[in-house]
Amino acid sequence: MTYQYPDAHGHFGIYGGQFVAETLMQPLRELAEAYERLRRDPGFIKAFHEDLRDYVGRPSPLYHAQNLTQRWGGAQIWLKREDLNHTGAHKINNTVGQALLAKYLGKPRIIAETGAGQHGVASATIAARLGLKCVVYMGAEDVERQSPNVFRMKLLGAEVRPVHSGTKTLKDAMNEAMRDWVSNVDDTFYVIGTVAGPHPYPMLVRDFQSVIGSEVIAQSQEKFGQLPDALVACVGGGSNAIGMFYPFIDHPQVAMYGVEAGGKGVASGEHAAPLTAGKPGVLHGNRTYIMADEDGQVIGTHSISAGLDYPGVGPEHSWLKDLGRVRYVDATDDEALAAFHELTRAEGIIPALESAHAVAYAKKLAPTLRPDQRIVVNLSGRGDKDIFTIAKLEGISLS
């Protein structure tokens, strides 16, 4: 490996770091030290991989989407089927890892923030299994638009606390989870759902999610005898994207595309695309690209997909952007919606609206490549949670 980030203080170039109030500095340090120890502990590694295999259902398949390939013309389309994981998204890879950390650290209570509810469900799921108390913070607006996931969390025994402050979405849920953590730091483990937050979270979430990319490397060798030509993944906080990209960083022949939420179009200002249209700032404990106004106030974002509706992004993505290793692009609400329908009808796979952004960009990329080239799209989650949103958008009554 020539790419070795973060440094000992959690910096990815000028990004990352630990920008939190003093009360959390020591708990973060203890977490970083515990993680450094456990990531080399054979018992921990074994337990993590057994859980991924037997509880999550890994490895997830790498599926050749021949119908999409035929429709789009150009490169072969392969889908990394994270939607087939237990709980229906890539989020569970990380919660399995962090819940094991919580268990090893002897913390009886976990908290989580959630946007679309996938991370909340994944946290509630693993808490149920390990017998941990679980509280999930969720923006009041997201509670409204993702009600099936709210009910799933409650069935699993978690307490869902709606957050009414600020924009009532993911960023405010994260603020509230931080406030809970600072108030209950002795007995509580904060399970952050994405590669953002203060060090060591961006690193440890990346490490847990990088099973996605490692599997893609092995599966591509097995299925077509070489690495893919391009990877495409959606980026909100960016955990599914980093999970797929990270093992490929030192394979420069593999192009990588991170797809942000273009909302109503980046030019409209109503989007959630900080890497495309934001600038560096400090939010939620790290320095990264964010969307803020000229006074440094974080501004509201818009996306059809609650899971991408976030004004920041994991600091490693900021660094990979500046390095030029990953190209960050966007897909609008309308493009994502069209891709949602196209994948559903062409392949019989209903994708999450988040993942549909990646599919939408792959559709643009495919015709620019040759038929002997291959694109792997991270299908990060399934769309069951989104059917009510889609029905509402399209004026269809389900009752």
């Binding site: 109030a21 003093e22 009360t23 600020g166 600072v182 108030s183 400090v282 404990g285 106030q297």
Partner: protein
């Protein structure tokens, strides 16, 4: 790293020599609306403030409880940005050249406006110190020289979770005063344990001779007196801000209300004087 001759350090030195405790009120600039803030600052001085902590509103005040979150939202509804806050300090200085003013806020507004531009303007406006809540001492080395070069004291938080080596690192960089966070929690939280505060203050004193003031959880005369007895002073924020919240529809009454509330704390602290 104390700059002993600043207005802030002189004020705290005088208090110590007189055997008095520092009373440091906090309000959020622009709450309930920007036109009231300077009047409220003068009212705090009349109520017995030794130093004023003026909050710079931020959209994502991660370390603050609901009371100060709502204050930020009220202030931001009136677009109270960093430059506007500095204008308030400059206006305050026209009538009060004595009372030190410390800005308390988060890093992003400062980074967005630019550290150097901020330091220059803050000095020109008459700001005495800066407390950036999410700027840990480990990340501060690129900030402190610029702030100090403009005569600004750098205030840091110390928490119940801070171990000895962190306390020592903070003590090396801090000037003005050390702000001890009395509890594990957000601003405005309820449970404050004076015995554990007292024990931690003794530990901190082994690392620094700076004045040691305590905030978070001080809501009335009784808690001010209890904490004042073991520290060099108290910071009171949410208890004042909740008065602003309650009376936001009647802002002309606010100066008298805050003055009276603060005066009760002043009397409690002065009853401790040697």
């Amino acid at each position: 790293m104390s700059a002993a001759n600043t207005r802030l350090s002189q004020r705290l030195q005088q208090l110590r020599q007189a055997g008095r405790k520092a009373l440091i009120p906090y309000i959020t600039a622009g709450d309930p609306a920007p036109e009231h803030s300077v009047g409220l600052m003068h009212a705090l001085v009349r109520g017995g403030a030794d130093v004023i902590e003026l909050g710079v509103p931020f959209s994502d005040p991660m370390a603050d409880g609901p009371v100060i979150q709502l204050a930020c939202e009220r202030a931001l509804a009136h677009h109270t940005g960093l430059w506007k806050v500095l204008d308030m300090v400059a206006e305050f200085r026209r009538q009060d050249s004595q009372t030190p003013v410390v800005l308390m806020g988060y890093l992003n507004p400062v980074e967005t406006r630019g550290l150097k531009a901020f330091a220059e303007r803050a000095q020109a406006a008459g700001v005495d110190g800066v407390l950036l809540v999410d700027l840990a001492v480990e990340e501060a080395d690129t900030y402190l020289p610029t702030l100090r070069a403009h005569g600004l004291d750098c205030i840091f938080l110390i928490a119940p979770t801070s171990p000895a080596e962190r306390i020592a690192a903070i003590a090396r960089e801090a000037s003005g005063y050390l702000y001890y966070v009395s509890l594990k929690g957000v601003t405005g939280a309820a449970s404050l344990d004076v015995a554990s505060v007292s024990a931690k203050l003794a530990e901190i004193r082994q690392h620094s001779s700076l004045p040691l003031v305590v905030g978070f959880g001080i809501r009335d005369a009784a808690s001010a007196k209890a904490v004042g007895a073991v520290s060099d002073g108290v910071i009171v924020g949410s208890a004042l801000v909740s008065e602003i919240e309650k009376n936001q529809q009647n802002p002309s009454a606010l100066p008298a209300i805050l003055q009276e509330k603060l005066h009760s704390l002043r009397l409690a602290l002065d009853s401790l004087a040697a």
